[in-house]
């Protein structure tokens, strides 16, 4: 994994972690945009980068960064060292519905540009790199989103507080956060009562899984790395007891 000294320096300020099970409830004022589920560990990774780099961007890298999170690590991929964090996906609760919002990008006013002969010029709006665009984006409204985590609430609060939105197109007002509520939980369960995964889990970490349901996908930040066989959410799996601690 790739290291960034600014992140390492920030994480060093945490001291010893006090990890406890918590139930996380997220309420948003507007619909949440995006193509997949909301991952608590993905959101915390983003919060870590924002806090450690004070808003500066992290250089793009095909190799994942080492992003320690204030969560219990349940398993590490022996090949890459990537961690499986103790956090389930944020699932919609209460009244909920999926839909679509389309955003548009339109051509600039023609009087902005001139040709070399001084005439007003507008690039073509129907083709080419400057064309008008209408981009549909899946959105979900919900009374709330809920996940369970096993982590240090004090540090998690620090990482979540700078975030104003979740999901895609936050700058356009989607996924505007009202509040995160953390409630104490007696136990953390990676697998629900029916034996189904509550987050994507790499099959390499599992004692058994439903072979027909396994697919390639992301399982840890960055979630765009989707070339690992995983058991997706809702798949019947057996989590090895020896990985519990």
């Amino acid at each position: 994994m790739r290291n960034d000294p600014r992140i390492a320096a920030y994480v060093a300020t945490w001291g010893a972690l006090d990890c406890q099970p918590w139930r996380v409830r997220l309420r948003t004022a507007t619909a949440v945009g995006g193509y997949g589920a909301l991952h608590v560990d993905g959101i915390l990774s983003y919060g870590l980068v924002r806090c450690a780099l004070r808003g500066a961007p992290l250089a793009e890298s095909a190799e994942p960064y080492d992003l320690p999170l204030p969560l219990r690590c349940l398993w590490r991929d022996p090949a890459t060292g990537l961690p499986l964090w103790a956090a389930t996906d944020l699932a919609p609760v209460g009244l909920t519905q999926t839909g679509r919002q389309t955003w548009t990008r339109k051509q600039i006013a023609p009087q902005l540009l001139t040709t070399s002969s001084g005439k007003p010029y507008a690039p073509r709006s129907s083709a080419g790199p400057y064309k008008d665009m209408q981009i549909p984006l899946p959105v979900r409204v919900a009374e709330g989103f809920m996940a369970d985590i096993w982590g240090d609430a004090r540090i998690i609060s620090d990482l979540l507080q700078p975030l104003l939105t979740v999901g895609k197109k936050g700058a356009q007002g989607l996924g505007q956060i009202i509040a995160w509520d953390l409630e104490p939980l007696a136990t953390f369960h990676l697998v629900d009562d029916a034996g189904c995964a509550r987050r994507p889990i790499p099959v390499a970490a599992l004692a058994s899984w439903d072979l027909h349901a396994a697919q390639m996908g992301g399982w840890t930040p960055p979630y765009w790395r989707n070339h690992t066989p995983i058991a997706p959410v809702g798949t019947r799996v057996t989590w090895p007891e020896e990985c519990a601690a």
Partner: protein, 488 residues
Amino acid sequence: MSTATPSRSAIRITPAPRARWLVMGRLLSNLSHGDPDHVTAGNVAPFRRHMQIVPLDTPAAPVTQDDLDRAMAACPVPRAIADYFAALDAPQVLAIALTRLFIAQFAGGQGEGLLSGAERYQRLGDRLRMAASRTLTLPAFWSDLCRSLQVGGQGERTLGLLTLLSMPRVLGQQVLVTLARETETCIVLAREWHETVKRMDAAYAAKANVPQIVPDQETLGYAVETLPPPASSVIRDVPAISGNATRHSLLREPGMRHLLDRLDIAQNDLTWPAVAQLLGNGGSLAKGSAIPPDEIALGEAIARDYPLWELLGGVTAQFVLPGSVGRAVAWMVCRENAAPLAALGITPEHAAEELIDVMTSVHFADPPMPHATEVLVQGAEIAFLFEADPYASDLALGALACALETASAGLVLGGKGVTGHGQVALTLPNDPSFTLYARQYEDYLASRKAHLRAGLLDGTLGTGKGVCRPAEKAGKGKAKTEGLFDAE
């Protein structure tokens, strides 16, 4: 896995933006704001609507067994097709019955009326879904559907229709949910129901040369306990101003005009399309562009030099600038938005649909072409909320303030601006820091005017590299640079 006993307190985490400014807007003329997601859904171009949770403001009376029995008795199902309804619940059957009544009223006796043909049923489906998604009661739904299909109130006042329209509100809302989510199924079964009822008539069967169906109907029975419990809120499509339009009209476009004005750049001085695009709509990558190895450093330098792009982000011809630090959201001042508006100290008076009107324009051709558009009426209010990331710089906040000041001098929001639509009067925040940041930004632009001006005109954005120039390509034995407008 963990067996710790929770003896801890709950924790609430609320976002902490660097700045949060509320700008109130009042429409001086009707606002047209089209909905790309419903562009083919009606004869009237619909106003943009967003799906959201709407609290029900008055407690609904629970449905009694008598209410349910009366509604079911109003729509007896032909025994010949009763099997199709066996697995359905009461709201589904009532939704299909209501759809059937609409088809029966307006399809014409031979099926050759208003609703003949596949395309017509496609349109019925679009409008049925739209009406069910944006109304809260069955009478409002029926009116909306009749209006969108331009059939007015021509239909018969049948006992079945009157009974269904007067069913308890809670039951009506469950019917609307079914109509919005299962529109196509409702239409398929309603058409079958309608056709079966027609074939129960001996005269029709003889005339259409089809076998007559035995005229036998049954009333389906459901226990009231099988209904879902009354909801305190529902999901509806509510008229809305998109955050994208808000960002463009209140920040990017006025921010651009302010920047060009302060740098003494006339509108037609710009010659690099990528610069104009970056200023005007955020830009896009050029064909064949390669991301430079020092992309992060270049992006940070550009955002530092031009705080407007720290605020809004964008794309040069070669790479994407670091993410934007500004967030924009617009709340129509209406009862459906009472919760978020209460947090801003605003109490709405009107329901959203009360603020929507239909305006018909005529394109003078031969023959004249009338077209109707839904508009948000003059006098309606919009609360624009702008938030800045905790790590936003003072100058980015200044760019935000200056953009809003520029917009307040004459904002046109939405479409049809050339015909006078969408004029908005803005009330800027009465916050000393707003003015302070604006002056800091003005001073900054004045102090670095020559550098910033040159960066926009030469396509380097002050980096010394052609980040807004098209990629160089080889041709005819020597390297040549693509012309300014080779995208054409």
